[in-house]
Symmetry: C2
Subunit: 320 residues, 2 copies
Amino acid sequence: MSILVVGSVAFDSIETPHGRVEHVLGGAATFFSLSASYFTDVRVIGVVGEDFTTENEAVLTRRGIDTRGLEHVEGKSFHWTGSYLKNLNEAQTLKTELNVFETFAPKIPAVYEDSEFLFLANIDPVLQANVRRQMPGVKMVCGDTMNYWIHDHRENLNKVLVGLDVLLINDGEAKMLAGDDNLLRAAGKILAAGPKSLIIKHGEYGATAFFSDRSFVVEGAPKNGSGPAALLSVPFRAPALPLDTVVDPTGAGDSFAGGFFGYLASQPEVTLPAFKRAMFYGGVMGSFAVEKFGTERLQQLSREEIDQRFSRFREMSHLD
Amino acid sequence: MSILVVGSVAFDSIETPHGRVEHVLGGAATFFSLSASYFTDVRVIGVVGEDFTTENEAVLTRRGIDTRGLEHVEGKSFHWTGSYLKNLNEAQTLKTELNVFETFAPKIPAVYEDSEFLFLANIDPVLQANVRRQMPGVKMVCGDTMNYWIHDHRENLNKVLVGLDVLLINDGEAKMLAGDDNLLRAAGKILAAGPKSLIIKHGEYGATAFFSDRSFVVEGAPKNGSGPAALLSVPFRAPALPLDTVVDPTGAGDSFAGGFFGYLASQPEVTLPAFKRAMFYGGVMGSFAVEKFGTERLQQLSREEIDQRFSRFREMSHLD
């Protein structure tokens, strides 16, 4: 089934202990799309400027990604400059040039309206809610956000949360969103605020999924307690691959999201077992993304490589 | 098979956000022994003072722990005072009164000499090496240490590392010991220094085991590369249980060690599958330990509760 993704298509300039690159293709929607393209059809909505070349677009279309929703406008594309020299686990933003992204108003092409899965990448929650409203018939919605929206745009974000099947955030964001330093309690509070499920990413330690009892996951999902904040008794934890070299962490989270949601959209039904496998695929795609600068590694994968690494994740975490 | 544990038997005074206790039974050997006692026979070597009561000793003997190696001497027992008010993940030591522990010289009773498993809890590496030498016929040795010994007693510690089958430390200790901030590289460097396997504990994120290719683990262990620092291609990651309430983190690591090593000693053979299950039991026992103050929770468990939680760990981490 088709995934529609709305988010940034951008250029990144990045320095890490392994080198630096200038003005390479990046952006949340780009990493997400490339990652998901190994599993299912992907349609992208975003905005780029005149510096976005035919070759840049070909990186997406070569992977079969539908770019008819990529708006080309006058001016320069979003350009992010960041450094991982101080801390490989956390980007230090050196410069954010929003450029054409500043006035981004997502338009959904008619040919995209039958998309069954919707991914709302990390953008202004007002835009996220707007897109969500325009896609009432969508089967499943997954969304991302970040500290800035959590801290300064909470009311708008709350309107997005109620419409999500899956919220995908990291430890720090979850604690900030819930106002609670304990992850399990934070998960309960966040689920009470709307999303039917929550995946909290722990970086090199993997990710944990929590489900509310209003969960869309029907088959095989044991129920526990009642009330809006009740959690399924057993959350699910997926591992991450220990890596000796992380060349560039940029886009790891969006690649996780692409692997997770792309795999889920490829399945005949959204069940708890499929959700769990999808989390493993998320970890797999995140582990590939960081092996090279920018989107380079995500451009050259094979499904065979992906499934081999999936087997490694299983071997690494399963008793038998 | 019998486990011999050498380490501290002490009193702890602890404050956490959930309350405070004064002078309750604690110490690494105590937590380890109680935890391991649910799986196998345990013999303890330690030293206590005149304040150590018959009732204190009965906490151990009621669980079938052999305390004939617990030396009673004049003076006061080791007393640790710590606080978790600032950070539930890291103890702040307020006072360390070594008392009779300061001159602790482990003596191995003749009746302990046929012990097949040896656990060297976190004590002076000179004493650890000394005990190790006196137990040449032991089948398997597992050891713990801490930042103080890593930083200030490295040469002595190195002599211990070469004699270990399993080194059990946490993230920070592993990075300090290896002088490397990347966990996978740190694991390779530590294994090159001697221990045949290494378990790195990640607190609420679980634990990861790394194996050298000189590993004692024979059955089912795929080999990878050559040379002393080569790692098995796939490390093993065990989850930890997300908990909404941690009453008292004291002893969680030693309880993990007790569950891990106790289960392993209970198995007919040390194989890779048994090692993996043992790591799950380690996490299980650690998760129980923190539910109440001191050793309280570890005194009242049943094997049925333990195995139920083991099933939960499996469900939480396995795809099917």
